[in-house]
Amino acid sequence: MAAPATGPHPRNARELFWAFSHLAMQGFGGVLGVVQRELVERRGWLSNEEFLEEWSLAQVLPGPNVCNLALMYGWRQHGPRGALAALAGLLALPLLTLLLVASVFRLGADQPQVVAALRGMGAVTVGVLAGAGIKLLLALRSHRLGPLAAMALAGLATLGITWLDLPLPAIVAGVGGLSCAWVYRCLRPGERAPG
């Protein structure tokens, strides 16, 4: 898949670096929800469908998911330089912040206000994940398998993780395998991808 000819996309590795820095610095307790918001909603570099496809691979491969996504997206846009720029953006500023916070940790860790502030920020992160999740769930309306089947599979995966407490590889193999096999059957052998 080549870089899209139309629509907004990062102009160079420097822009990739800053875009991933910007989203990383908003990701408290994980960056998953923020990536959708920054790359899809605010910058328009990916559609919801493209984001889901990109994330699928990042999710299945070993390694930090968001680092995998940054590497693959950066490479697709600007080659190896783009991949390194996106990964560096994701890590550099948060790492400096973390080291600073860790050095002054003993000054504030047992302060009840600090603990309470972190709880408040954590509650916002719940909302970021839930809000992005709802939007992506609604994006499944245009899924190949039809809205009902796609949302049912998403619900199945959610229940498997939260209620049955199944490990992620089992969900990927079980629900993901079922879903991929179903899509495979729906795709006609000679059919070309749109676009």
């Binding site: 990383a24 930090p64 190896p80 509650a123 719940v126 796609a150």
Partner: protein, 194 residues
């Protein structure tokens, strides 16, 4: 720590990297076993602090591994503080590069292969078929984080629950900058709302 220990630190992270399916947090039990129990390079409290601090500061979760490497390096040898800082930076670099290098090479290779075969029926089935699972993982992440903050089963905590609901709506229905939301959440917490 002697040179063999540094090599062992690198080997540990290089071998854990390909096992991290589902993200960096899945490595926490194994890292704990190696760093705290087996080698005693970190104390129990230090390892927990790495996890907590990485969760509390912005950025990808994998940074807790970088901080653990930093802490291992920091107490690797007694000496003047510039020397300790250099060793801490070395520990950080070994941990972060070690845990990222194998998985990153794999991701770049897999991404490259997929770009070469965009029309392959199996590739397209995979990309479209996994989409519902990705949505499920994101919704689960929201639920599990809410539970870890005691929001799922505690109606006695109306304020954080209200913050979570309000930010869900703000993210879903508006294009508001997240930093405002995060700042507001932290402020309400610090002012004694929680």
């Amino acid at each position: 720590m002697n040179p063999a220990d540094w090599l062992e630190l690198l080997r540990l992270h290089l071998t854990l990297s390909p096992l991290a399916i589902g993200g960096a947090m899945t490595l926490a039990p194994e890292l704990h076993r190696a760093l705290v129990v087996q080698h005693a390079w970190l104390s129990e409290a230090q390892f927990q602090a790495c996890l907590t601090l990485a969760q509390a500061t912005p950025g990808p979760n994998v940074l807790y591994i970088a901080l653990a490497g930093w802490t291992v390096g920091l107490q690797a040898a007694a000496g003047p503080w510039p020397q300790q800082l250099v060793l801490a930076a070395l520990g950080l670099a070994i941990a972060l590069v070690g845990v990222l290098l194998p998985s990153s090479l794999l991701a770049c290779a897999a991404g490259h292969w997929l770009r070469q075969h965009p029309q392959h029926r199996g590739v397209r089935a995979f990309r479209q078929g996994m989409a519902p699972v990705v949505v499920g993982v994101m919704l689960s992440a929201a639920w599990l984080l809410a539970c870890s903050l005691d929001l799922c089963t505690a109606p006695s905590q109306p304020v954080p629950a209200a913050i979570a609901v309000a930010s869900t709506l703000a993210v879903w229905r508006t294009r508001m900058n997240l930093l405002w939301l995060i700042g507001a959440g932290g402020l309400i917490g610090a002012l004694g709302g929680l």
